[in-house]
């Protein structure tokens, strides 16, 4: 990762900007949502690979900051939703597309189906993912040369 960041630094102009945009593994909430209410029904289970990936990314950014390659100017968390019409469509997606890095326990599946079954007609099912965005400025130093 640090080598990739070194490469990015190389191709950026002086004072160029690096945007780091990525989902954080922790606490992906499952919700049944309608115009009237949001009901939390559980959470997606993180697999260790995903959590370790976050840690490695954070360590890489710490390292480049330490080397004075980039300076962090601004950062923020915001929600990103994956939304489906029905719980079964959500489960199919989680099982087919996310099985390598997250899982969903049976309790959460059951609670989501139950909440959706009695919810308003406009209800959808969604997973709320926390996204981290940070702006880094390329620092003009020759320390690493």
């Amino acid at each position: 990762m640090v080598h990739a960041l070194e490469e990015i630094r190389r191709v950026l102009v002086p004072n160029g900007i690096l945007i780091d945009l990525r989902p954080l593994a922790d606490n992906w909430r499952v919700e049944v949502v309608s115009l009237r209410e949001i009901k939390r029904t559980g959470r997606v289970e993180d697999l260790p690979e995903q959590t370790n990936g976050d840690l490695a990314s954070n360590e890489a950014m710490k390292e480049v900051e330490k080397r004075s390659w980039f300076k962090r100017e601004q950062d923020e968390l915001f929600p990103f939703f994956y939304s489906w019409d029905t719980p079964s469509e959500m489960e199919e997606f989680v099982d087919d597309d996310w099985s390598d890095f997250v899982g969903m326990e049976e309790d959460t599946r059951r609670a989501t189906r139950a909440a959706w079954a009695v919810a308003d007609g406009d209800s959808r099912v969604r997973v709320r993912v926390e996204i981290w965005i940070a702006r880094w400025r390329k620092m003009n130093t020759n320390l690493e040369l």
């Binding site: 191709v11 002086p14 945007i19 780091d20 601004q74 997606f93 996204i131």
Partner: protein, 98 residues
């Protein structure tokens, strides 16, 4: 499949809040099928979007809006060895890829 990704457009709102890509040369790393690329590329001077996954790039090339054909170029490249000369870009975006 009824999947909607980011129906509130939070991602592009935050990207615009953090960086102005107007007339800038942008490198996007991890573009995938171009979901984010289409949303900011219109105002950029040029975008080079790279990904390791050839299938995703194939989809991105097919889906690329016709009015962005001259602005966006895709490449199968690894961020560890960027095939570009130094100081070529104003902005680099690590899109879900660090």
């Amino acid at each position: 499949m009824s999947l909607q990704k980011d129906p509130d457009h939070n991602e592009i709102k935050h990207l615009h809040k953090f960086v102005d890509s107007t007339d800038k040369r942008v490198l996007e790393i991890g573009c995938g099928e171009g979901r984010l690329t289409w949303q900011y590329a219109k105002d950029a001077h040029s975008v080079i979007a790279i990904d390791l996954d050839r299938d995703s790039l194939r989809v991105a090339r097919v889906d690329r809006p016709s009015d962005l054909e001259k602005q966006i170029h895709f490449a199968n490249a690894n961020s560890e060895y960027l095939p570009f000369s130094k100081e070529k870009f104003d902005i680099a975006i690590l899109a879900w890829s660090l």
